[in-house]
């Protein structure tokens, strides 16, 4: 649990971010004049077709890549620009699309990996905290001794989210985490993520290609164009929290969807006609 009275961190200010791969060769422009603002504690979703650059943006924030143009501010301080590329760190932990739990460690060891490696917590304390978080987040503590590949993908994702939260990150970055899951499991995961977010409020940046998922989960939905990516529209989702399943059939939800569906569809069509393989 975040200590009572602690400030929410992780406000992101992305100003005209640009990313060009191989500038002297193929010059592939992944991001161009991309701007958006995420308030601390806000749950922001970025929707766009495959290969539009949304993962690139996430990678840059996470520290796996660098900007070639524009700047990013984290909590008001310059965080990334053309000359500044911060390394990855526990203040911006990523939950990956295909899951990145270490297969050779069991669930508990995976979850305590962050705090113990950073020497922020001694192993025993880390274990206690981990077991508590696992228990709270859907009774996962029973799987503590199991190996990731013995778990279903839904449980793996849940464990990975706990592993991320153990580090008290400023920003939680989720890169299409439920993409590979079937629709039924997805609805369960959505509920789970919302519950966890209520318990451990953090700034969240959630990447997806699924508009419905984005509206259901987020406070703000940003629509990104196809490559080169920039933000086409921002949509404030003023559905009340906690979100419930029946909201998916509500008029308010459908109105919201109608506002951006056209834009999303247009970009998706462009990307489809391009037919190119996605950028990593």
């Amino acid at each position: 649990m975040t200590a009572p009275g602690s400030e929410l961190r992780g406000g992101l200010s992305i100003r005209r971010a640009g990313k060009t791969y191989d500038p002297r060769g193929a010059a592939v422009v992944a991001l161009d004049e991309c701007s958006l603002n995420v308030a601390p504690g806000e749950f922001a979703a970025i929707v766009g077709p495959s290969g539009c650059g949304k993962s690139t943006l996430l990678n840059i924030i996470a520290g796996f890549d660098g900007l070639t143009d524009g700047e990013i501010l984290l909590d008001g301080k310059p965080f990334a620009n053309r000359d500044l590329s911060p390394p990855p760190g526990p203040d911006r932990v990523v939950v990956f699309q295909n899951g990145a739990l270490f297969p050779w460690m069991n669930v508990l060891d995976n979850v305590i990996y962050g705090p113990t490696r950073q020497r922020v917590l001694p192993v025993d304390d880390a274990r206690k905290k981990a077991m508590e978080m696992l228990r709270v987040c859907g009774g996962l503590h029973t799987a503590a001794e199991r190996f990731p590949t013995q778990l279903s993908s839904g449980m793996q994702r849940r464990v990975e989210i706990v592993r991320a939260l153990m580090n008290e990150p400023a920003v939680l970055l989720l890169d299409e985490p439920f993409r590979a899951m079937d629709t039924v499991s997805k609805t369960v995961m959505h509920r789970h993520l919302l519950d966890v977010h209520a318990l451990y409020p953090k700034t969240v940046l959630f990447i997806t290609h699924d508009l419905e998922e984005a509206i259901y989960l987020a406070d703000t939905v940003y629509v990104m164009t196809t490559r080169p990516g920039h933000i086409k529209r921002a949509l404030r989702v003023n559905l009340p929290r906690p979100r419930t399943l029946d909201m998916l059939a509500s008029q308010a939800y459908l109105d919201l969807k109608r506002q951006v569906a056209e834009d999303v569809h247009e970009e998706a069509k462009k990307a489809f006609e391009r037919g190119e393989r996605e950028l990593a």
């Binding site: 191989d22 060769g25 193929a26 010059a27 592939v28 422009v29 080169p228």
Partner: protein, 258 residues
């Protein structure tokens, strides 16, 4: 938003390879020049090249060794493919056959091909035959096992689809099984070729009367280390050329793989 064809990565790192190789040659030459202990007996690259140019490049016997070794390699390799591929296919497709034969194959496989030399000499009428047989043994097990693995990894959905479309067993075999194992055959050939050269050289050293291995061995026996170097470089070159040829074949066998 220009999208031009990117410069291939290979030209950007080739200078490093060239640097490494020339560094190696320079080091070798220097170590010999300065009579570093232990290396006093062998010639440097320049001397070897000089001797090669004057005595071997135009020497018919030298090129005959190439021919002799290559012939053994090709005969043994070809025989291994002709017998090994069907064996692999049989092991993969016929359960009874596999039950009977696979354990025996697994028992014989760990025996190093060269260990077969004496029996081979006893059995075959001529020396040539016995060396080719050894070469054959080396590549035979490799290709058989690779084809066997290839058959086992055929996706059953492909076979089911063919059956549901009314294909006979023979058609399934020709149109699905065979093409599916082509990549495995390619891999088996590549691995087999490397082993084949290794075996031919050693067999020639032990029991041959001509060929590149024999040449190298004679250099050793007569304490002419220059010949040893020349022999080794020749063998390396021959092996490299064979590997190139096999790589070309492998690409033709399975062009859909990159």
């Amino acid at each position: 938003m220009a999208v031009s064809t990117p410069r291939p990565l290979s030209t950007r790192i080739n200078w490093r390879s060239a640097l490494a190789v020339s560094g190696f040659l320079v080091l070798w030459e220097l170590l010999v020049r300065f009579k570093v202990p232990g290396l006093a007996t062998i010639p440097g690259p320049l001397e070897s090249l000089a001797v090669f140019w004057s005595k071997y490049a135009a020497n018919e016997n030298y090129w005959q060794s190439w021919v002799a070794s290559f012939r053994r390699v090709m005969l043994g390799f070809l025989a291994a493919q002709l017998l090994g591929i069907p064996l692999g296919l049989l092991l993969g497709t016929r359960e009874r056959f596999r039950e009977l034969v696979f354990p025996v194959v697994e028992l014989l496989r760990p025996i190093p091909p060269l260990a077969w030399v004496p029996l081979s000499i006893l059995f075959w009428p001529t020396h040539e035959f016995s060396i080719v047989f050894i070469t054959f043994i080396g590549a035979f097990f490799i290709i058989a096992i690779n084809v066997f693995d290839g058959v086992r990894s055929i996706r059953p959905e492909h076979v089911w689809l063919a059956r549901s479309l009314g294909a006979s067993d023979l058609r399934i075999f020709c149109r699905i099984v065979l093409p599916s194992v082509l990549p495995a055959i390619g891999v088996g050939m590549t691995l087999g070729m490397a082993v084949t050269w290794n075996v031919v050289i050693a067999a020639e050293m032990i029991a041959g009367d001509n060929g590149l291995g024999r040449l190298t061995w004679e250099g050793y026996v007569s304490h002419t280390s220059t010949v040893v170097i020349i022999g080794m470089v020749s063998i390396g070159l021959a092996g490299y050329l064979s590997a190139l040829a096999i790589a070309w074949i492998e690409r033709r066998l399975a062009p859909w793989r990159n």
